[in-house]
Symmetry: C2
Subunit: 343 residues, 2 copies
C-alpha cells in the first residue's frame, strides 16, 4: 500500500496512482484528524471523494504518529493526550476517538488503536503495554463502524515469539464471531536489530490465522517485502518508495540506483529496462539525472511513479509466482538480479 499521509500520495495524482495499480492505499488518521479534520472530510463525502481515489483505503489508528511525531504525550488507560506537531494545540486520542475519526474518514480497512512500544523496550514493560493494547482492542471492537468498514487487530510482542503468541491468543479470544477482518503485525522495524525481526517473522507469521489477511506494518524495502511474502505476509505499507524517490534513490530490478551519480549524466537508458511504468517508458536516466540536479519537482513525481510501480509490481509478480507454484525460483532470481548493477 502506497502511503498517502495527508490525503495524497506525495506528488502523484489519483489518475497516475490508478495506472500504477496498487490494490489499497493508506491514509493517516493522526494527520487527517488534525488537518483538515475528520468532520470536514466526512462532510465532503469521505476520504475517497476528498482525495479522488476510488480504490480501497486503509487508515491507521493514529497511534504510531502520536507516539512518534506529537509531543508532551500523557498516556493513561482512557487514552493519550498530546500536542499537535503542526500548531502545538492539545488533542486526545482514545480507542473510541480513533474509531470515530476513521468512521468519519470512511476508509475500508480500520486499524485498532494500539500502544506502540519502541523496539528495545524491556520485556516486563512490553507485557504491560500489550495488556493495554488488548483492552483498547476490546473498546475498538465495541465501537459501531460503518457497514462497509472492516476492523483489523494489531498484534504486539516485539521480537519475542512467546509474547507474540500470547497476544495472538488474547486477540483471538476477542474474535469469537470473526470480528476482525485481518490481523496486523505491529511494533516491528522500530529500532530492533533486523535479524531479530526476520527471525520473529519466520517463526510467527505462519501461525497467524490463514483465513484472513496478514498485514506487516511499516515495512519496507524490496528485500523486506520479499522476505515477508516468503513467510506469509499479505499486506504491507511503507513510505520508503516515495521518500527514497524524492531523495533520488530508485528501486529497480537490478538493485538501487542513485540518480544523481555522474554515471547517469549521459545515459540514454531507462531507469529499469524491465519496468513498464510511465517514467521508464518515456524518459532516460540522463533526463531524470538532470531534473534531480536542477531541483525540479517533476523529478520527484517521475521517480515516485517508478518506485511505486516497482514496489507494487514486485508484490504482483510475487503473487503470480505463488499462484504458479514457482515462488522460490522467482525469489532467487529476483535477489540475484538486485546485485547486477552498481548504483
Amino acid at each position: 500500500m502506497p502511503v498517502g499521509t495527508q490525503g495524497t500520495v506525495k506528488g502523484i495524482t489519483p489518475l497516475q496512482l490508478a495506472e500504477i495499480g496498487p490494490q489499497v492505499i493508506l491514509g493517516n488518521t493522526y494527520h487527517l484528524g488534525l488537518r483538515p479534520g475528520d468532520e470536514l472530510v466526512r462532510d465532503l463525502g469521505g476520504l475517497h471523494a476528498f482525495m479522488g481515489w476510488q480504490g480501497p483505503i486503509l487508515t491507521d489508528s493514529g497511534g504510531f504518529q502520536v507516539f512518534s511525531l506529537a509531543s508532551l504525550r500523557k498516556i493513561k488507560e482512557e487514552g493519550v493526550t498530546f500536542q499537535s506537531h503542526i500548531d502545538g494545540s492539545t488533542h486526545f486520542l482514545s480507542p473510541e476517538r480513533s474509531m470515530e475519526i476513521q468512521r468519519n474518514l470512511g476508509s475500508d480497512i480500520v486499524m485498532a488503536l494500539d500502544e506502540c512500544p519502541h523496539g528495545r523496550l524491556e520485556r516486563s514493560k512490553l507485557e504491560l503495554s500489550m495488556a493495554r493494547t488488548t483492552r483498547w482492542l476490546e473498546r475498538c471492537r465495541a465501537f459501531p463502524l460503518a457497514a462497509h468498514q472492516g476492523l483489523f487487530a494489531i498484534n504486539q510482542g516485539g521480537v519475542h515469539l512467546d509474547l507474540r503468541l500470547g497476544h495472538l491468543e488474547e486477540i483471538l479470544e476477542l474474535d469469537r464471531r470473526a470480528e476482525f477482518q485481518g490481523i496486523a503485525v505491529g511494533g516491528l522495524s522500530v529500532g530492533e536489530p533486523k535479524e531479530e525481526m526476520n527471525e520473529l517473522l519466520a517463526a510467527f507469521v505462519r501461525l497467524l490465522p490463514a483465513d484472513r489477511p496478514r498485514y506487516l506494518m511499516g515495512v519496507g524495502t524490496p528485500e523486506d517485502l520479499l522476505f515477508g511474502i516468503e513467510h506469509g505476509v499479505d499486506l504491507f505499507d511503507c513510505v520508503l518508495p516515495t521518500r527514497e524517490a524524492r531523495h533520488g534513490t530508485l528501486l529497480t530490478s537490478r538493485g538501487r540506483i542513485k540518480i544523481k551519480n555522474a554515471r547517469h549524466r549521459n545515459s540514454p537508458e531507462p531507469l529499469d529496462p524491465e519496468c513498464n511504468c510511465y517514467t521508464c517508458m518515456t524518459f532516460t536516466r540522463a533526463y531524470l539525472h538532470h531534473l534531480f540536479r536542477a531541483g525540479e519537482m517533476l523529478g520527484s513525481t517521475l521517480n515516485s511513479i517508478h518506485n511505486l510501480s516497482y514496489t507494487v509490481g514486485l508484490t504482483r509478480a510475487a503473487r503470480q509466482a505463488i499462484l504458479a507454484k514457482n515462488f522460490p525460483d522467482f525469489a532467487r532470481r529476483t535477489r540475484e538480479n538486485w546485485n547486477s548493477e552498481e548504483s
Copy 2:
C-alpha cells in the same frame, strides 16, 4: 506557450501537458545551455526527445536571462561574457553561440539574440542598443539552422512608436527573402508603466506583417493576453500561470482565487465551474486548500494544471471567437465575468 525553463514545465508531465493542449511550449536556451548542456541534449536526440514532448517547441535566445539572471556581464559587439548563476563559471553568448545552442536543442522556433534593455532606458541609449540588435540579427540570419527550424526576429524600441517602426523597417530590410518566420515584440513588461505598454501595443502590433505570427514576449496575465489578442498578437509566453499556481493563486473565469483563504476551507465547489481540466473535474476547493495548507507538492501540480488549462483555454476561446466574428462580445463577457467573484 507554457514555459519549460529547465526542460520541464514545472510539476507537469508531458502527458498532462498534452491533455492541457498548448500548441507550442517554450524552452530556455540560457538554462539548458548551462545545464545539462546543449551538446548532451543533442546527443540524446534533441529537446523534444529529452523531455518527452512531441509538440512544437520555441526556444528563446538566452539573451533575456543573461541580462537578468547572470552576473558580471561584459557586453561587447562580439557577444556577452557572463558568469553562470549556478556555479559562477564563465561563459560567452554571441549570436552564433545562441544559434548553435538552439540548433543543438532542435527546437522548432528559434529566437534571434537581442540586447535586452530595461524598460526605462533613455532614448539615446536605447537607439544604440537597437542598432546592435539589428547587427546581431544579421549574424543570426547567417547561421545555418536545421531544416525544420524557423527563425523569429525580435523588435525593440521600448514604448516609443517611432523607434519601434524604425526598427521594424531595419528588420524587414534583412527579410528580403522572408528569412524570418515570425516577428516578436520584445522589451515590454520589463519595468515600464503598464499604460505605456498598452498604448504602444494598440498602435504598433497592427503594423507588423500580417502574413506571419506576431509574438509578444514574456506576457502575461489573462488581462494582458486578452488585450494583446484584441490588438493582433498571435503568440505569448509567460511563467505567470505556473508560478502563480505554486503560490496558490488560481486564474478562473470569475477572476483570481487565493486558495489559502479560509473561505475555501469547507468548499465543495470546483475551482472554476466553467473549467473542464482534470483539477476542476476531480477535486474540490476544500481539497486544494488542504493541499496548499499542508505544503503538499500535489497542490502545485493540480494548481498548475488548472492555471495552464485556463490560460490555454482563454486563447483557444479567443481564437474561436475571432473565427466566429464575435470577438468584441467575447472579450466584454470575459472581462465582466472576471469581476464576479472575490478571491
